[in-house]
Point group: C2
Chain length 427, copies 2
């Protein structure tokens, strides 16, 4: 196909046609695991999940892609390149959901990648570099206590040996559940492949920054690093009527100062730092007894690990000062420490360039949530594109992205895959 | 008996002997409803409670008092006076306990009153004014959801008609439980009497002010008024990673400011004001979601209702200001409003005078907890004496008061009853 003005117009018309199919495809996918009251539940290795993966595989074959599963159950739809010396460029996401989730989180990235490859083949024929649409397993960690099982098994941080005996809430192990679907280390499927040139993921924002700013797309600069702590305060439970204020060791009064200070310090630090106390409980937890002990969670995120660490250190110092002043014993347990993952500079620039060329108003932004892209970043350059989430809602049946925004995101992903597969983007 | 120096010495020796019996009597009482692991559980109309009341009744008869129950199950031990035109002076407390309570809360006031009457009769013969030792029912409200059932039935604020169908956690009604013990409106027992000249109650402090100040007794100036609120804050549950700080409506961040302000304002107001947030819960209550809603309790107490009201009003105004600033909706539900109950001035002065005469270091103090005395204050002048609670602990097997402090309190109560029964204290 020639790059004449006529053919450019034709391919753009074709792209418009394909982009129209994306909302329908998401609708089609959402029928697998549809909850009676609305919403979608597709837990890893469940019937709904397996049916969706199989239907996707069938769809890929129909569209002329070569579909295959690996041992884990990751589905790859391949558009074979002409230069086999080039390692493949991948795009995708996951189709597993949280319990009663929405139709967009994960599914968007999978559907858009598959549809993009179908379009590219139709518009441009075989690429130089092989392109792969990936539907990865258990990104959410909703059924088994391991998020990123699919992408983790590709990079090698997850394995049957280490994780196969993890059980779901009914006591079924990951291995048994996988075998039930025909996957597992003793199946005939291939072991997960670790050779990728790049990985690009289109995802809903799961926040309301794009909506609020009236922007159509976000180019992710980095996936934020995250520290999670559980803070335990030990004071003295005393009678609320008979204990004078100045002699109290009120764990909740101390906690409340810490929570207030957390918000204050995070506001002062400014975007993109976020710090959240989402859960607090006091004991004995009755109205007429001074709280003897309090436990609360602390979640801090920033795309720069150094800034994150400094903020966390300083905040915990202030907590200790408050505890000392109030005569309270403090214990801080680190529950999670995930390093920030910058997206690949060349991909980020290319995505920004694509947005400009297409006249899509975009912003550079960190991703406050984790994604498969952060896992795959250890084996290849990665990039992410966000589209707006209405009211920032995700993991909920009310999750929604406007069709226009979906189409915009699809075109950005498609252009990027064109550059990687047919162009000469050097990473 | 004459008031000669010799007889004064004799009666004081006798009083010492009787005061020695008080710790033993508390020990004896604590056998009824003794929990296997320590502590005492005597719920209203339970076997343990009934056995204790009956044993007390028997004890009173043996000591020459005229014991009788009313329909409610209140036990009165009467030391008949010679002038029947004078209405009786009463002293007492309650023997019902919380689940796994201690041996002192309530029991002290009952045992001391009974022992005091026994002593007074032995030392001085019949009084002019009838004296009554009272063991009142269900002060705690531990079995049925009505505190002060015994004293309330005497004053008429409680009745079988209004409260008889209240049920315990097993669905047994107050009326059925009373009938099982032989009490109730259709029993042969008398209706509760409402004619008293005065009521004096000896009680453990249930706080650690006396212990901390090294004082042997407290003369209660007033039982504090109390306001209880449940505060509900409605913000917006959002993703902790993807929602910038400045766009959050974080109900827990707002609550924490309110809790911190509560403590700050109460410290500033100073003794005897106390304000407590004992319980807080956030929803959805997970570490990675900004709290969408928070509920917390607020308990404010002060012996002056005007001060209490002003403090509560001002604090709630500050809550509303914080809520407005944070974009949070606030709903404050009043859960309790109990007026402060001043003790009778003449009784208070007499108790202080007695402490001085006996060389007992005492302090005037409000009672931060509620007591039968506050209920009975609507029908007669009332007074209260506190003795130290070790570490301020009550409602717990570790509840403890030193024998010396028990004896001191007993002597104060006995002197007061002597004044009321044999002397010429005019109320």
């Amino acid at each position: 196909m020639q790059d004449s003005a006529e053919s450019v117009e034709e391919t753009q018309q074709l792209l418009d046609q394909y982009s129209e199919r994306l909302p329908q495809m998401l609708d089609w996918l959402s029928q697998f695991g549809r909850d009676p009251e609305g919403g979608v539940t597709r837990l890893l290795y469940s019937d709904a999940w397996l049916e969706a993966q199989q239907a996707l595989s069938h769809w890929m074959e129909q569209e002329g892609l070569e579909a295959s599963f690996d041992q884990t159950g990751n589905l790859a739809g391949r558009l074979e390149g002409t230069d086999l010396s080039l390692s493949p460029a991948a795009a995708g996401s996951h189709i597993d959901t949280v319990v009663n989730g929405g139709s967009f989180d994960g599914a968007l990235g999978v559907a858009a990648a598959a549809l993009a490859l179908s379009y590219l083949q139709k518009a441009y024929g075989p690429p130089k570099r092989t392109l792969i649409a990936l539907s990865l397993c258990e990104e959410e960690g909703s059924r088994f206590p391991l998020a990123y099982w699919g992408s983790g098994s590709i990079t090698g941080i997850r394995s049957w040996e280490a994780d196969g005996q993890l059980a779901d809430k009914d006591g079924i192990t990951l291995l048994d559940a996988a075998r039930r679907c025909g996957f597992g280390p003793d199946s005939l499927y291939r072991i997960p492949s670790m050779k990728l040139q790049s990985y690009v993921e289109l995802h809903i924002e799961q926040g309301f920054v794009l909506e609020k700013m009236g922007q159509q797309a976000g180019v992710v600069s980095a996936i934020v690093g995250q520290h999670r702590y559980e803070i335990h305060l030990q004071g003295e439970a005393n009678h609320a009527g008979t204990t004078p204020m100045r002699w109290r060791k009120d764990a909740l009064a101390a906690a409340s100062q810490m929570i207030a200070v957390t918000r204050e310090a995070a506001l002062l630090a400014g975007d993109p730092l976020v710090a959240t106390v989402g859960s607090v409980s006091s004991a004995p937890g009755v109205s007429n007894v001074v709280a003897g002990s309090v436990t609360f969670t602390l979640d801090i995120r920033h795309p720069d690990d150094v800034v994150l660490q400094q903020f966390a250190d300083e905040l915990l110092r202030r907590f200790i000062h408050i505890a000392d002043t109030e005569g309270i014993r403090l214990a801080a347990a680190e529950r999670l420490r995930a390093a920030a993952v910058p997206m690949h500079g060349r991909i980020v620039r290319e995505l920004e360039h694509i947005c400009q060329k297409r006249g899509l108003e975009s912003r550079m932004m960190p991703s406050g949530a984790g994604h498969d892209a952060q896992i795959l970043s250890v084996i290849c350059p990665t990039g992410m594109i966000f589209v707006p989430s209405r009211h920032g809602i995700s993991h909920n049946p009310a999750e929604y992205t406007e069709p226009e925004a979906l189409k915009g995101g699809f075109k950005i992903l498609t252009d990027m895959l064109y550059q990687l597969g047919y162009g000469s983007v050097d990473l």
